[in-house]
Amino acid sequence: MGEIEVHALRGVDLELYAGELLVLLGPSGSGKSTLLNILGGLDTATGGEVYYRDRNLTYANEKTLTDYRRHHVGFVFQFYNLIPSLTARENVAVVTEIVRNPMMPEDALALVNLQDRLDHFPAQLSGGEQQRVAIARAIAKNPAVLLCDEPTGALDSETGIIVLEALERANRELGATTALITHNAGIADMADRVVHITNGHIGSIERNAQRKPASELSW
């Protein structure tokens, strides 16, 4: 069986501005995850160029990409990806131990309202709480870029909103450029800009005149 080349993204031209909250909206398979992976230094594009500030990441090697992720990017995953053998505090510390100028893990957890759950293991936390630990872990390094891949995908809407509130607060208080992937159009209202992706193309980019607080979202 011959291999067929499939381009996940084609002709994407996108700039992220410092401190903005960007929502990448699109159906599954549209290429939004691939875009996020490239932005996060997890994947490299087969064509085109990627810049982080003045740094060209297009042909960066493994070491440079690791360094980029380590010091500049915060990740939030759909399935939290916490380390089950570490407590909430330690899950944050696992990152703060390896970066320059991190927050105290306790402060990061307070930012997501988990100051009372510091010494709980993931198995002792609810899904929403686990995702908030993951957000604390992502922001504790004071990242320049915060990338969130379907952060509410595994949660009910009520819990999802609490998580989005935490993200919103982190974006506002820390000024991290935040890109949030979702196929859930209800989330788009909280963004500065909404990027619609279909079939590997950027369909449209719309700017919200007013960011809607996460607490007022619903789906």
Partner: protein, 787 residues
């Protein structure tokens, strides 16, 4: 092919690294099992067939001299079938082009017909012509050692007269499957030969016309050998009988029996360890497989596959892995078995080797492997069977961890998060961690066995030949001689010092136990021959008591302070009561020691010796040999250095073989355990490791988390591994104890170091493979999947 079978093959292929590692351990177990048992079986079969065909006797006795007419009376003893009388003599030999002293045993064969018992297997040439006093047949190992052929000549000193003999035939005898010189413990084919000559000429040379000094009997079926021995002893007593003995005590037979016993031990101890480890590994791997295939199991069940189908599917997987190990193990076992049998042929002289692999052995190996494997995976397969489909569809609840003991003690500040992950992971599954450590410890122990033999044997030689028997030469006399004989030896140029010894065959009795051995009368304050205690300190023999080998004391159940009954089997044959005053530690043979003066007094003889220990000035050694050759009184000469050298030559080969086999097999275990544990750990944690990589951890940083656990387990395994090795060697040393030799439990630091090195190397090899696998962690996939 059914779809489920296809899945079976694909699963096997996906797990090929782990399957191979398990199969290797399995191979180790099955191979040792098949090797030992098939060799055991083959040796036993060969031996029995050889004994039967050559009519190996069942009772043996040597005596001073009896008229041939006594043979009839022996034959008429109840239970006796065949009787073969003969003349046996010690000779000194000279092989052209070989300067070292060579001694031999010369036995008679009937002039006109083949012997009724202990017939010879003629390998080459012919039997001597009747009446010829210059024709002999020689033992094959001696012929091989000197490259002698029929037609070659050698010189022999028979009863003080030097004679040139022509070799007519090369033969093998069931009496000398393991051929060692009297007083020696290891075969030395260069310096000791066995020869056969016609009865009449040999009798004439030894003034034994119409008489014999050795007799062999076969018994009627169902006869108790002990009864015959008792009546034979009574009959031979007035002819200087030295005590009859059964086949069980015949030296060559004894050594062979000990060897067979060793094979039996090997066939049980080692396979048990290997199959146990393999079962553990199977448990780990199948357990993990069932965990990762939770959803698949649910779907299969949802589609209507029964619990039985699912159980059969996973059991089939286990059986496939076992089958692979079994096939490899049987192949390796046959290969090693053939190698081992061939090696035995160098020590044990059979005319043929009938290598046989009993299908029963294979059946047994299969049965034991399958049972061990299924027992090991019962739990894991059972879990797959019991899993309700609805539950299986749901994701597993996150694993519950808790702070480790060390952290609860408040020491967590000392640890980074990755180190805490390692510690908690180990502590969360103590049984699995413990089994992993145990598996590696057993590998370490098995590897130690390899060098243990070397260490022990070197120590035995060292103690025996540099601390206890310090003489360069041991000389035996044809007859007890006056002490003045020593002076003539001491006076030879090149002899620095001579020390006499008087040894007397005797039956030693205590309560209902008895042992046929000898009393050794040593010079008090002797410089060359010394007896040592357990801490290798010299033991002084008191003037009025016996000091005996601790093992002999154990056999007889006698303790210092108790009185030993000694039935002397020479001269006036006194029955003596002598207190045992102490024990001595020896590794080779067993003996009872007295002061020579005491023994002379008890024997009611003068100042007699029948042997001497000499220390010789090395440059003059050959000259001393020549001088001794010209002394008619000298029956045999044993050169210490030759004994040591020939021993090492033969021993090194065997030891190398065993070292190679056990190091290889031990390495299999270590690799199998580490590699599988590591692969499982990777499969269980690839998600969290990949997450950490996404969060900016470097490759070495995540490798630390995974390999740190293995490293700790490996290091933790070493101390118990050393202990296990020591216990295993101790067990082997204990199980090989016999009156022929005791292997001391000596383990040199190098042995520990070697075992540790093999384990660490196996671990490092596994670590390297994991290091490479970690490079290929799927960072993107991990973001999209839930566990």
């Amino acid at each position: 092919m059914r779809a489920l079978n296809r899945k079976l093959w694909r699963d096997l292929w996906d797990m090929r690294g782990m399957v191979l590692a398990i199969a290797l351990v399995q191979v180790g177990g099955v191979a040792t099992f098949v090797m030992s048992l098939s060799t055991y079986d083959s040796l036993l079969l060969t031996r029995d067939r050889y004994y039967r065909e050559q009519r190996f006797a069942e009772v043996f006795a040597s005596l001073k001299r009896a008229p041939e007419s006594l043979a009839e009376r022996i034959r008429s003893l109840p239970g006796v079938d065949q009787v073969q009388t003969r003349v046996v003599a010690a000779v000194r030999l000279e092989v052209p082009g070989f300067t070292d002293p060579v001694t031999g045993t010369l036995l008679s064969v009937p002039d006109t017909h083949p012997p009724r018992l202990n017939t010879l297997y003629l390998r080459q040439g012919r039997t001597p012509e009747a009446g010829r006093n210059d024709e002999v047949m020689i033992d094959e190992s001696f012929a091989d050692a000197h490259d002698l052929q029929p037609g070659d000549r050698l010189a022999a000193t028979i009863n003080g007269r030097r004679k040139t003999l022509t070799i007519t035939g090369i033969v093998l005898s069931p009496e000398y499957i393991y051929a060692i010189a009297p007083g020696a413990v290891f075969p030395d084919f260069e310096h000791y030969g066995i020869l056969w000559m016609g009865r009449k000429p040999l009798a004439t040379a030894y003034d034994m016309d119409g008489a014999f000094n050795d007799v062999a009997l076969s018994l009627e079926h169902g006869t108790d050998a002990e009864t015959v021995i008792e009546s034979l002893d009574r009959l031979l007593a007035r002819y200087g009988g030295r005590g009859a003995y059964a086949r069980e005590d015949q030296l060559s037979h004894r050594f062979l029996t000990e060897e067979l016993h060793g094979l039996e031990t090997m066939a049980t101890v080692f396979p048990v360890i290997f199959l146990g480890v393999a079962a553990f590994l199977l448990n780990v791997v199948i357990g993990r497989l069932v965990a990762t295939q939770r959803e698949q199991i649910a779907i299969l069940k949802a589609f209507g596959y029964s619990n039985f189908d699912v159980g059969r599917h996973y059991a089939a997987l286990v059986l496939m892995i076992i089958g692979l190990g079994l096939a490899g193990g049987i192949g390796a076992g046959i290969w090693l078995g053939r190698g081992l049998s061939a090696m035995y042929m160098q020590f044990y002289h059979f005319p043929f080797l009938h290598y046989r692999l009993d299908p029963l052995i294979i059946g047994l190996a299969a049965l034991v492997s399958v049972l061990a494997g299924l027992a090991g995976t019962l739990h894991a397969v059972g879990r797959a069977v019991r899993l309700p489909p609805a539950e299986a569809m749901r994701p597993v609840t996150p694993t519950a961890y808790r702070p480790t003991l060390i952290e609860r003690l408040g020491l967590q500040r000392l640890f980074s998060q990755p180190t805490r992950m390692i510690a908690r992971h180990i502590e969360r599954r103590p049984v699995k961690s413990l089994l992993m450590v145990a598996g590696m410890a057993s590998a370490c122990g098995i590897i130690m066995v390899a060098n243990f033999q070397k260490d022990a044997v070197r120590h035995m030689i060292d103690v025996q030949y540099t601390m206890s028997q310090r003489q360069d030469l041991s000389v035996t006399f044809t007859e007890p001689s006056s002490h003045t004989a020593l002076y003539s030896l001491a006076g030879l140029p090149g002899v620095e010092y001579a020390e006499g010894v008087r040894s007397v065959p005797a039956r030693l009795r205590f309560e209902h136990r008895s042992y046929r051995g000898s009393l050794q009368g040593l010079e008090s304050g002797g410089k060359l021959r010394r007896v040592l205690d357990a801490s290798l300190r010299r033991v002084d023999i008191p003037p009025d008591g016996i000091v005996m080998t601790d093992y002999l004391a154990e056999l007889l159940g006698i303790r210092p302070g108790e009185v030993l009954t000694v039935e002397v089997l020479e001269g006036k044959r006194p029955v003596l009561k002598i207190p045992v005053t102490g024990t001595t530690s020896e590794y080779l043979g067993v003996s009872a020691y007295l002061q020579r003066e005491t023994l002379n007094r008890l024997m009611q003889e003068g100042d007699a010796v029948n042997g001497a220990y000499l220390s010789v000035d090395p440059p003059l050694r050959d000259r001393v040999y020549r001088e001794l050759d010209d002394m008619p009184r000298v029956a045999g000469i044993l050169v210490r250095d030759n004994a040591i050298r020939s021993f090492y030559r033969t021993m090194d080969e065997t030891i190398l073989y065993f070292s190679f086999v056990s190091a290889l097999l031990g390495g299999f275990i270590a690799f199998g355990v580490v590699y599988n544990s590591a692969r499982i750990a990777l499969s269980e944690r690839d998600r969290e490791l990949a997450s950490l990589r996404v969060l900016g951890f470097t490759h070495p940083e995540v490798a630390y988390i995974l390999l740190g656990e293995l490293g700790i387990a490996t290091l933790l395994a070493l101390p118990p591994g050393f202990l296990f090795g020591r216990l295993l060697c101790g067990y082997l040393s204990q199980s090989f104890r016999s009156d022929l030799y005791r292997i001391p439990l000596i383990l040199e630091p190098g042995t520990y170091a070697f075992a540790a090195a093999v384990v660490l190397a196996s671990a490092a090899f596994s670590a390297l493979m994991l290091w490479r696998k970690l490079r290929k962690l799927d960072l993107i996939g991990v973001l999209k999947t839930r566990e």
